[in-house]
């Protein structure tokens, strides 16, 4: 059980630090989210700007862009996912070690955006892999990406390590690998992963 906040502060004044394994574990997870060095389109330029001195992504412990999926914790889908690229994106995601997170950055990564009706454009990467944070924008400003990092950190902080709704990597039953779509004669097959993306019900 978490220690009462007031008591924690009082103990801290006496030089005693009290915490829980859960807090410590989540603090470690959220403070070193290393993204994968991976850009798809113009959103990637904003992502690069976010890492530079002006916006300073290093404040979140996330400045270390790893050129290998094996060393990365976070995949930022920064741009249009074409149907030609989609299998590679899913494959890279599968190659990442747990715990892993996904930020869908910008209108294209969310839904296909301005190119939605294009013959080679995937209508949102969340059809194949689970997305933790969606950021709207075309492209989103660096502040929006920083906000996505903060949202992700908040999400990680709120997770319990046991019981229902625990993170996927602590659940032996949970699906960690996602089927890679096959490039068919007319379209990707299948066109979505129903386990990840059940067709949303539109309420009008």
């Amino acid at each position: 059980m978490a220690v009462e906040a007031g008591l924690k502060i009082e103990l801290g004044k006496q030089g005693v630090f009290v915490t829980t394994i859960e807090e410590l574990y989540n603090w470690g997870r959220r403070s070193s989210i290393w993204p994968m060095q991976f850009g798809l389109a113009c959103c990637a330029i904003e992502m690069i700007a976010t890492t530079m001195a002006r916006y300073d992504l290093a404040r979140f412990g996330a400045e270390v862009f790893r050129p290998s999926p094996r060393q990365a914790d976070l995949m930022i889908i920064s741009g249009t996912v074409t149907k030609k690229m989609a299998p590679q994106v899913v494959r890279l995601y599968n190659q990442m070690a747990e715990p892993k997170y996904v930020i869908a950055m910008g209108a294209c990564a969310i839904s296909g955006g301005p190119f939605k009706q294009g013959y080679n454009v995937l209508k949102g990467i969340d059809r194949y892999i689970p997305v933790d944070v969606h950021i709207p924008g075309c492209p989103p400003r660096p502040e929006a990406l920083l906000h996505a990092f903060m949202t992700l950190q908040k999400k990680i902080d709120g997770q319990h390590l046991t019981g229902e709704g625990r993170p996927r990597h602590l659940d032996a039953e949970a699906q960690g690998e996602f089927p890679v779509p096959v490039q068919g004669e007319h379209d990707l097959e299948p066109t979505s992963n129903p386990g990840v993306w059940p067709v949303p019900i539109t309420i009008r």
């Binding site: 030609k84 013959y119 080679n120 209508k123 490039q183 004669e185 066109t191 949303p200």
Partner: protein
């Protein structure tokens, strides 16, 4: 720079048997183009590049156009023998009658090249080559050996329009994946029916989304019927 008429004359003088047609452009720019016959296109292209006066050494753009079958209605005057009753006597009279006849001009695929001269600082010269039809006779000579910059652009035309460039060093799809069978920029391209989720549909997308829903409802009705 020479006018298109002068270029046409120069081509006809330099390449024996070459057939060139001027395709006029009625807009303000007046950028008329030269239509070449596929069998001489390669020699003509080489001439356009190597000719001292033209020296069109730079291919800036190559693209494709898909022209569908066209139905043309024409009024034709036809001489006919008509039997007429004049003053109670049947007479054979020759008459010209106007008839509307419809004929179908078969569609074709067209490759368009925009040429400039870096050495002379002039251009563009637009050349067009057409295939015989849109279905089975779709090959054209590749101009990649003449202008290296045509390589990727011809691959793109092959990918999106389905024109097969003979003599191209590496004719593969460029934008779509290798297993893909269609040509998305053709006018009769049927895109996959992936309109299952359209939260802000309008116009054409709305129609497609509604059609998708109707198809889904019909499929479930059939399934339920089979189940019962």
């Amino acid at each position: 720079m020479k006018t298109v008429e002068e270029i046409k004359a120069a081509i006809e003088a330099a390449v024996p048997g070459a057939w060139v047609e001027i395709v006029p452009n009625p807009s303000v720019s007046g950028q008329h183009s030269l239509r070449l016959a596929p069998e001489h296109a390669f020699e003509v292209a080489t001439f356009l590049r190597d000719d001292a006066e033209l020296s069109l050494d730079f291919l800036s753009n190559a693209t494709g156009v898909d022209w569908l079958d066209k139905e043309i209605a024409e009024k034709v005057k036809v001489a006919k023998t008509v039997t007429k009753t004049l003053d109670g006597v049947d007479q054979q009279v020759e008459e010209t009658v106007e008839e509307t006849r419809k004929r179908v001009v078969p569609g074709y695929l067209e490759a368009v090249y925009h040429l400039f001269s870096v050495a002379k600082g002039h251009g563009p010269v637009v050349i067009r080559i057409r295939t015989l039809n849109r279905t089975d006779q779709v090959s054209l000579p590749s101009l990649t050996p003449v202008w290296r910059s045509a390589e990727f652009q011809e691959r793109e035309i092959f990918d999106l329009f389905g024109i097969v460039f003979t003599g191209h060093p590496d004719l593969r799809r460029l934008l779509m994946w290798d297993e893909f069978k269609d040509h998305p920029m053709r006018r009769d391209y049927v895109e996959p029916d992936d309109f299952e989720y359209e939260p802000t549909a309008h116009d054409d997308v709305l129609k497609r989304a509604e059609a998708h829903r109707a198809k889904l409802a019909a499929a479930t009705a059939v399934q339920e019927g089979a189940g019962a």
